[in-house]
């Protein structure tokens, strides 16, 4: 037992360190991840300890990061790619969607691509264009990939280790505006609290189910606390895995509450909430007391940062969604 208060960012660093210690085939590749430790310092100190061959400063070309990582994976390595910001993953989109995702199927199972693509995502940090996006639905839509998003330090630590150990490619979304959030947990625990592709019911409730992932989870918890003060009991689910979708956890909850609000920063049109809404409607048609409510980003390109508070789902918008669900 070693209870420590660690930031989310440092938890990923520690998780990567454990993964690299456990398996000499784990290599990191990305822009500025060596001496600098990455623009968010997630790989800080790792090149010093594991060397330039295992913590590879890449040329400034994202398709190259992912494409060469595919080659390394074919050679028997377990590459962990760092994409510097969400909006910079698109140059690598072909490699991810057409190569990473399809290589195993193309080989009829002869090949595996055990790689992780880490992407800091989401807004709220006052950055210029391309630094605040939520591109997760593009990847969740692509068969052959697994997509997860962590929301808190303990999960961040374990989920990155589990993602590296996974024999399938995992797109790993990190909530960049939560990198500095701290939480206390047992950093010496022997095993993960739950599987990588399982949702976590963070808070029990009876009136409305609130589902989200990544940066909005903290906002959802705050919303539930505020609602409780007004007498509304909200069940909060941290989705954690976007593909595969842990739909059973959501369905169980909705069968109990009869109402569902899904929250994410990504634009709501064809976002994760749309799929969750469809599946919950299929499975809970008779239990639902209200339509599934989506609380997402506006259907516009991410706005200039001075306006981002108007775009992002905050406590009030989440509670407005809850009220709309309760109005039926």
């Amino acid at each position: 037992m070693a209870l420590e208060k660690v930031t989310l960012g440092k938890s990923i660093t520690n998780g990567l360190r454990k993964a690299m210690e456990a398996d000499p085939k784990v290599v990191l590749i990305g822009e500025d991840i060596g001496k600098l430790g990455g623009v968010f310092r997630i790989t800080e100190g790792l090149q010093k300890d594991f060397g330039e061959e295992r913590v590879i400063d890449s040329p400034l070309a994202e398709s190259g990061i992912v494409g060469t990582a595919v080659g390394m994976a074919l050679r028997g390595y377990r590459p962990v790619c760092e994409i510097q910001f969400d909006g910079f993953v698109y140059p690598a989109f072909d490699q991810i969607v057409s190569q990473v995702a399809k290589m195993r199927a193309r080989s009829l199972g002869a090949l595996k691509i055990p790689m992780v693509i880490r992407i800091p995502f989401g807004g709220g940090i006052g950055s210029p264009e391309h630094h605040s996006e939520s591109p997760e639905a593009y990847f969740a839509h692509t068969a052959g990939l697994r997509v997860v998003a962590c929301s808190n330090p303990e999960d961040a630590h374990w989920m990155i280790r589990q993602a590296v150990a996974c024999d399938d490619p995992v797109i790993f979304f990190e909530p960049k505006r939560r990198y500095h959030d701290r939480a206390e947990y047992d950093t010496a625990a022997a095993s993960a609290p739950r599987g990588l592709f399982e949702a976590n019911v963070i808070r029990q409730g009876t009136d409305v189910t609130l589902v989200g992932y990544g940066p909005v989870v903290k906002t959802m918890i705050e919303s539930a606390a505020a609602a409780e003060a007004e007498g509304t009991s909200i069940e909060v689910i941290d989705l954690r895995s976007l593909s595969p979708l842990p739909i059973d956890t959501i369905v169980s909850s909705v069968r109990k509450t009869g109402r569902l609000v899904v929250v994410h920063e990504a634009s709501s049109f064809l976002g994760m909430a749309s799929e969750i809404s469809a599946q919950v409607t299929e499975q809970c048609f008779y239990e639902l007391e209200a339509p599934v409510i989506r609380v997402g980003g506006a259907n516009i390109p991410y706005p200039p940062s001075r306006m981002e508070e108007e775009f992002l789902p905050d406590l009030d918008r989440i509670l407005d969604g809850v009220d709309r669900a309760l109005a039926y």
């Binding site: 061959e53 590879i56 398709s63 190259g64 992912v66 494409g67 060469t68 028997g76 002869a110 399938d168």
Partner: protein, 384 residues
């Protein structure tokens, strides 16, 4: 800017059919052996047996190609990308490889796969539509076909980076030192992934040989649309050597590829080879080259045919006679018959296997969809 640099920038791209003075050639189009101070040594030890086996490979893969074309026209294949005219580039480079080297092909390297020992049926299954590739690359160190143009250049580079990390480069042990060869075409030279691969390979001294078959046409676009300078000269801008070889000359492609692979294995990679050749057929069976190129050009290239060139050399040197050439043709007939039989009897897998092999680990959606599919299929049985 110095005059020299200006002169280089304005060096005209050689006209089609003329590889220019930098092109390495060991056999003229007429089959005359010409000497080259740097590359003679790579072919000096070739025995008559080996040279005849080169000829056999050329003939068999041309037959493989002809069968692929015919099978498509008969409706047995959905599409066929022809290698006609590029046989020497593929056999010459393929035969230069050691078994432990690794190949990343495009979708046209049926000839390279053949000389690597791949079952020729393997090339057909993708185009017959029974799988998207379907072989284990480890069996012959021959990766799956990549259809997205140039994407494999990064895979080859990463694989070569891994070889270097494994310590299989520059040890001086010929059984250990390894190289990767990456095939692509003149069209792919414009792709971002190919250019990124050049950057990465150079930055990490990757033991990779980039083998560009410049067949002059990217579907309908001539190579002049892709480049102002000869493609092999691009390498210099990325900081590694580039060489142009006569891609219709099997001795020269064999020699130059050996040299470059040796360099890569010794830790002096990457390198670029531009094999100057010609796509005698259409881009694929879905293409119609009469809409964009003149037949006179094709006629001109017929005089540079890679098989006739080696044949006349072998005959002239007394290394093969008419009886040998006839025996190869007869072998090609048998080979073709087996190929056709194998193609038309290739099994289509049952629908429920669609969900196999998408993921390495268990995935609930795969299981659920497969079950639903089977239940749906079974519902018809029940209805009857």
């Amino acid at each position: 800017m110095s005059d020299k640099v200006v002169a280089e920038l304005h060096e005209p791209t050689p006209s089609v059919g003329d590889g220019g003075p930098d092109m390495i050639q060991l056999l003229t189009p007429e089959g005359q052996r010409v000497s080259h101070p740097d590359y003679d040594k790579y072919v000096a030890d070739l025995t008559a047996d080996e040279l005849r086996s080169f000829y056999r490979d050329l003939v068999l893969i041309r037959r493989l190609d002809a069968e692929g074309y015919a099978l498509q026209r008969q409706g047995e294949l959905g599409l066929w990308p022809s290698l006609l005219g590029q046989e020497a580039a593929q056999v010459g480079s393929g035969r230069a490889l050691k078994p432990h080297d690794f190949v990343f092909p495009t979708y046209r390297e049926h000839g390279v796969g053949f000389v690597r020992g791949m079952d020729p049926q393997s090339s057909l299954q993708l185009f017959r539509g029974v799988s998207q590739g379907g072989w284990d690359p480890a069996e012959h160190n021959f990766h799956l076909y990549t259809i997205v143009i140039g994407a494999q250049a990064l895979h080859a580079t990463g694989y070569a980076m891994g070889m270097r990390m494994d310590g299989n480069v520059g040890t001086g042990d010929p059984d250990r030192d390894t190289a990767v060869i990456c095939y692509f075409g003149d069209g792919a030279s414009s792709q971002g992934d190919v250019n990124e691969a050049f950057v990465y390979a150079a930055s990490f001294d990757a033991p990779v040989v980039f083998f560009c078959q410049n067949n002059q046409w990217a579907i309908s676009e001539p190579v002049e649309k892709q480049t102002r300078i000869p493609l092999f000269q691009r390498a210099r801008g990325f900081g590694f050597p580039g060489v142009r070889v006569d891609g219709n000359d099997i001795l020269a492609t064999y020699a130059v590829t050996q040299h470059c692979l040796d360099e890569a294995r010794n830790g002096n990679g990457p390198l670029l080879i531009e094999a100057y050749t010609y796509r005698m057929g259409a881009h694929t069976t879905a293409d119609d080259p009469t809409k964009y190129r003149v037949s006179a050009e094709v006629e001109e290239w017929k005089f540079r045919d890679p098989i006739l060139r080696l044949k006349s050399y072998l005959a002239h040197e007394g290394m093969a006679d008419e009886a040998y050439f006839t025996s190869v043709d007869e072998e090609a007939d048998r080979f073709a018959a087996e190929l056709r039989e194998g193609c038309v009897t290739m099994k289509t897998m049952p629908g429920e296997t669609m969900w196999d092999h998408i993921y390495a680990e268990e995935h609930p959606v795969m299981e659920a969809e497969r079950s639903a599919y089977l239940a749906y299929k079974a519902s018809f049985e029940e209805a009857n």
